[in-house]
């Protein structure tokens, strides 16, 4: 069985990103191929900001997601429209918007909602964390 995770809760206003991470860790430990991809939507896209600097005695959630994605080779998608409106800008998008900066963290990629639809249709279940 393969899952897609849809995360919509803000990393600062909810525990959606934390809970999803714990689910991922537990699921992948048992079944290393059970997660096909993770799609961040709404305020959850803020997880992909490479500039965020949490206090040193707190979890660095962005890094935690990067590490698990790297370890298990899992794609982390941010909805491009939701991300760009919140200032999460890839190098490509920064050129398109004629900006000098970009803020997208490594391991994350900007994709349209069509990618979520494709994930829905190619995995058994989709689980929303909000």
């Amino acid at each position: 069985m393969q899952y897609t995770l849809l995360i919509t809760g803000s990393p600062y206003q909810s525990k959606a990103c934390h809970t999803a991470l714990r689910f991922m860790q537990a699921a992948l430990k048992r079944y290393p191929d059970c997660i096909k991809g993770v799609f961040f939507y709404e305020d959850a896209v803020l997880i992909g900001n490479k500039l965020n600097q949490p206090p040193r005695d707190e979890i660095h959630l962005t890094k935690a997601w990067q590490n698990i994605a790297k370890k298990y080779d899992i794609s982390l998608y941010l909805c491009i429209a939701a991300a760009v409106r919140r200032g999460i800008i890839s190098e490509d998008e920064s050129r398109r918007y004629e900006l000098n900066q970009h803020s997208l963290a490594e391991q994350f990629q900007l994709e349209g909602l069509g990618t979520l639809v494709e994930l829905m249709n190619t995995t058994n279940k989709i689980i929303q964390f909000r």
Binding site: E42, L116, V117
Partner: protein, 115 residues
């Protein structure tokens, strides 16, 4: 193909949730996926016809409702008990369900997303 229910429960004016939920519904429909909507709680205010928000208050999401049928989104469910008696100023394109039907509805879909 999976059938999907998008459940809107947030106020259209207090966050982007309602808008981003509707965006997902429109994208699913564009990709020819079966999608229905249901509204509850503060999201019901989207049905009011007499709203004209200023730019800083957000987009007038009510205007999207008339266009849903062009995306083949034809089922927009609400609870019978939440029917607004002010029919003159309420969009009439919804289907009202009694409590049993409303509770049963969620089991009719393979996927339910809440916004």
């Amino acid at each position: 193909m999976k059938n999907t229910l998008i459940h809107l429960n947030s106020s259209p004016y207090s966050s982007l949730s309602c808008k981003e939920g509707l965006d997902l519904a429109l994208v699913l429909a564009t990709f020819e996926q079966a999608v229905d909507l249901c509204l509850s709680g503060a999201a019901l205010s989207i049905l009011g016809t007499n709203q004209s928000p200023e730019v800083e208050q957000g987009k007038n999401l009510h205007k999207l409702l008339e266009g849903l049928e062009f995306y083949d989104i034809e089922n927009i469910f609400i609870q019978e008990s939440h029917l607004n008696s002010n029919t003159e100023h309420t969009w009439q394109g919804t289907q009202a369900l009694n409590e049993t039907e409303w509770n049963q509805m969620f089991s009719n879909y393979q996927q339910v997303f809440r916004f």
